[in-house]
């Protein structure tokens, strides 16, 4: 069995409903291989936290199925031992010192690696005797990360870990995260409302908007399938089937399309350009494009005057 083909996180049409009406997430289908680093991107309230809470078993699935490291998420210690979770806002016990937080981690986790925790905090320059309530945002995130990593999980889930961090602290945090992930072949999933720095560390992408997954897959593959296409309007209006138009920008004698296709386009009258990851995510977030099988008329149109 090769690690590359093993699936660490799998969801099939999974969803969670709050109360009777409000769906936090619906029809979520994902398949993420062991060792992958996945960025879950979406606006605030899109359903990222719901997804992560479901994966760690804090929320039950109202529909569909979830499998994390081959198990249905639950509150069983055998499952929890294999999952690292860094909750939103990096909660720590304010009155505990950093050393107390490590003691907490040791007391609560049988697979605890104390040397690893200390090494992580030393490399992040976090003083052990300081109370958690008096740490900077960056230090707090580092302590929370050290706690989650020293537990030696197979899957590490991080909910908006970068939200409160300044650019330098983000860079430090991601470096520390990447070091840990690579060292232990951990599967990592982290959410953010903006792709930003995540683009450098992740290899898989999930875009969530309004409680639904808009885009999910291997980053290189997604970038290979999406193109900017530009040319005269009469050319761009006649596209072969199997080409999905995600966005269309019309100028007077020139149209620019964001398309998704797995085939090569051979029309010499059209220019294709590669898509930048940030543009791709924004296009999906902005237009709430629902993935569809066959190409249809452009669902979203924007007038040139607005460009």
């Amino acid at each position: 069995m090769s690690a590359a083909t093993e699936i660490a996180i799998e969801t099939v049409r999974a969803g969670h409903r709050y109360g009777h009406q409000l769906w936090g997430l619906r029809e979520c289908t994902l398949s993420l291989p062991t060792g992958s680093i996945t960025a879950v991107v979406g606006a605030n309230g899109a359903g990222k936290t719901t997804l992560l809470n479901m994966l760690v078993g804090l929320l039950p699935a109202s529909e569909g199925q979830l499998r994390v490291v081959g198990e249905q998420p639950s509150s069983k210690p055998t499952f929890l031992a294999r999952i690292g979770f860094l909750a939103q806002d990096c909660p720590l016990y304010k009155e505990f010192s950093v050393a107390d937080m490590l003691h907490f981690g040791r007391a609560m986790n049988p697979n605890w690696d104390d040397d690893l925790a200390h090494a992580r905090l030393a490399s992040a320059n976090v003083p052990l005797n300081r109370r958690a309530g008096r740490l900077s945002g960056g230090q707090r995130a580092q302590v929370a990360l050290a706690l989650a990593v020293a537990k030696q999980p197979q899957v590490l889930l991080l909910d908006e870990p970068l939200a409160a961090l300044d650019p330098l602290a983000r860079r430090e945090f991601l470096k520390n995260l990447l070091d840990s992930a690579v060292a232990s072949n951990m599967t990592v999933m982290l959410s953010s409302h903006l792709l930003g720095d995540l683009a450098r560390v992740c290899d898989h992408l999930v875009v969530i908007s309004d409680g639904e997954v808009r885009l999910a897959g291997d980053l290189d593959q997604l970038l290979g399938e999406h193109h900017w296409l530009s040319g005269a309007p009469e050319q761009t209006s006649r596209l072969p089937s199997g080409v999905e138009v995600l966005a269309e920008y019309r100028h007077e004698r020139h149209t620019r399309l964001l398309i998704r296709t797995s085939q090569r386009l051979l029309n010499p009258a059209l220019t294709t350009e590669p898509v930048d990851l940030e543009e791709l995510v924004l296009a999906y977030l902005e237009h709430s494009v629902v993935p569809r099988e066959q190409a249809g008329p452009p669902r979203v149109t924007r007038e040139a005057s607005r460009l």
């Binding site: 078993g57 804090l58 986790n109």
Partner: protein, 349 residues
């Protein structure tokens, strides 16, 4: 988990240890002073309020009249424990977001809440037991002077009922905390429900153990001694100060009821309204006018009066405490189950 519980609660534990030490010292001091004072006054040996005993008991009452407010304050200990130990237990985690930290370690939330409940309930029930038994020892020499142990503030502070109250208040706090998930409302609910359940118990605990009923034939002749006042040697007057009188009625053969404390007055006003004090009034009891008594005698000659007293003897203190303890421990167990099941669902917000 034990370390985590200790680390999270060591500050409160320190405060409560100081309070406990202070209370134990104060109760030991009061208990020994009360003992030496009681023996200096010739007590114990006095069980009924008559003669020299009465004076001695009054002297003891005067010397220790500042004690009841303190025993009343002891009633608040279980309530304070519920409000400050367990009402924040789960809600504080929710408010700080740390429940998502605590419940994603390699410890199931079921175990998390169970260990916390066992440790906190164990420690505070132990404290309540120490204070309850110590209070029973401290207040023992004063009991006769202060009208027995059934008085609600004295009853609630001694014996094993304080342990049941403690468990009930703690269970109420943790259930409110798990269900409401906000500390201040959970504390308020703990306070209100605790008071709402505990206060009516004072009115119904007289039924927790079968009461003793005595029926006694009243000697009508003695009625003619004084115009106003209770029976001189009825059963009522033979009870000890530690007995808890629930009802005392005096009836005649027609079923008419008389007020026990005003028996002679009641009888005279019914049968011989003409009985009046002697002209040379004065003294206690006030002498009656012999002429009016003579006129009354035939009217009350055929009268038969029965005194019926229902009361809990002082010796029923422990059976009643046991029943009340069982009731409140059962209520506490139900509330703990609610709290544990709620936390075991470990909802993220």
């Amino acid at each position: 988990m034990i370390w985590t519980t200790w680390r999270q609660h060591r500050a409160e534990a320190a405060v409560w240890a100081v309070i406990l030490a202070g209370l134990v010292a104060a109760m030991l001091a009061v208990g020994s002073i009360a003992r030496s004072r009681a023996s200096a006054l010739g007590l114990p040996g006095c069980t009924t309020r008559d003669g020299n005993c009465n004076d001695a008991l009054d002297a003891l009452h005067r010397a220790f009249h500042t004690i009841p407010p303190f025993t009343a304050a002891l009633i608040a200990i279980p309530l304070l424990a519920g409000m400050f130990w367990t009402a924040p237990l789960v809600s504080r985690e929710y408010e700080a977001g740390t429940h998502r930290l605590a419940w994603t370690q390699t410890v199931s939330p079921l175990r998390w809440i169970t260990v916390k409940i066992v440790l906190i309930f164990g420690a505070l029930a132990g404290l309540a037991l120490i204070l309850g038994l110590l209070a029973a020892w401290t207040l023992d020499p004063l009991t006769a002077a202060f009208g027995g142990r059934y008085n609600s503030t004295w009853y609630d502070t001694q014996g094993i009922v304080p342990v049941a109250c403690m468990l009930f208040a703690l269970a109420l706090g943790v259930a409110a905390s798990a269900l409401i998930r906000r500390t201040i409302p959970a504390m308020a609910v703990t306070l209100i429900v605790y008071a709402a359940v505990r206060i009516p118990i004072h009115w119904i605990r007289g039924n927790f153990w079968p009461a003793v009923t005595h029926t006694y034939n009243v000697d009508v002749a003695t009625l003619l001694q004084r115009r106003i006042g209770p029976l001189q040697d009825g059963y009522l007057s033979t009870l000890t100060p530690g007995d808890w009188i629930q009802t005392a009625t005096i009836t005649d053969s027609t079923g008419h009821r008389y007020v026990p404390n005003e028996l002679s007055f009641d009888v005279f006003s019914r049968y011989c309204p003409s009985v009046r004090p002697a002209a040379t009034a004065g003294g206690d009891p006030q002498p009656l006018d012999p002429a009016t008594i003579a006129a009354c005698k035939p009217k009350v000659a055929g009268l038969t009066l029965h005194e019926t007293v229902t009361y809990q003897p002082a010796a029923h203190f422990w059976p009643i405490q046991t029943v009340e303890t069982v009731i409140f421990v059962a209520l506490a167990a139900l509330l703990v189950i609610v709290a544990v099941l709620t936390v075991a669902r470990r909802r993220p917000s």
